[in-house]
Symmetry: C2
Subunit: 157 residues, 2 copies
DNA sequence: GGTGAAAGGTCATTAAG
DNA sequence: CTTAATGACCTTTCACC
């Protein structure tokens, strides 16, 4: 989908103040209410804006540690079966991707501390079909799910 | 922070229907409005709920490809400098972490197609201080930012 | 631009641990 | 005695006409 500067400005505005009323958006952007409504409808329709959702921070629950885990999978078992089993068994997995390369899956996991992280990794290794894991701890998260620069870059093109 | 089943149910409810009025939340949970308000205030205060934000899907903008990129950094330049430069120069980077292990940084990038992904990786490699990169393409994203199981697991404990 | 309606925040009261 | 939930009131603001 093609977006312009107005769309980008609207997304930026909603990112800053998510529950801003339509009227206020229109006022700040200097356009009519109907314009904002139709733009929002288009953005929703094309899946650019999935929805307005509450952002939950695992750190608020005490999960201070983030780690990435590359998982090698026993070829005979199959990705989907392992993926389903992992998703069920390990609530600490927050991201799960099937990837190309040496590893078969890439996970992002959280834990309260180093001890509990070890326990999480142990549980992952115990899931049937998991052949091997390699992990690295996130020392610092510079940003996550950063899309604004992308939106503005796309609008500028 | 310690949360109970009511907190977990509230988070689940808001995740399903993010813009549900407090009154409706209270009705469905079988508690008073004031209770919901005070619980929400506590969750906000402790950083469990960061805020209600619009969820933007890069795929809606045509970014169909996701890739992970491990970056090795020239030790003499320093992480922060490289991180800042990368963040500025490459809008296609959506996640950026400093990690332990062989690589120094772990990135998640998006692109329209394989060609453009190559261009993104090239631009990353050209950033001063970036010594080497290794990347893998996400063939499938099973889920991302999945926190509900974590919340319920925490509440149950 | 006016009107109806509903949301959110605050408060005192009351029950429970 | 402390903590938390309850139900009602009030003010403000949005969506609709």
């Amino acid at each position: 989908m093609r977006i312009d500067e107005l769309d980008a400005a609207l997304i930026r505005l909603l990112t800053d103040s998510p529950q801003l009323p339509v009227l206020e958006c229109a006022r700040r952007l200097g356009v009519a209410r109907g314009t904002v409504i139709s733009r929002l409808a288009r953005l929703h329709e094309h899946g650019v804006i999935e929805g307005i959702v509450p952002r939950i921070d695992p750190r608020g629950l005490g999960y201070a540690l983030t780690a990435f885990c590359q998982v090698e999978i026993d070829q005979k078992v199959g990705h989907d079966k392992v993926a389903t089993a992992l998703a069920r068994a390990i609530p600490e997995i927050v991201d799960m991707h099937t990837v190309t390369g040496i590893a078969d899956m890439q996970l992002r996991v959280v834990a309260h501390d180093a001890d509990q992280l070890q326990s999480v990794l142990d549980r992952i290794a115990l899931v049937p079909g998991v052949a091997r894991t390699a992990s690295s701890i996130a020392l610092r998260t510079h940003f996550s799910s950063r899309v604004l620069p992308l939106v503005e870059h796309t609008a500028g093109a």
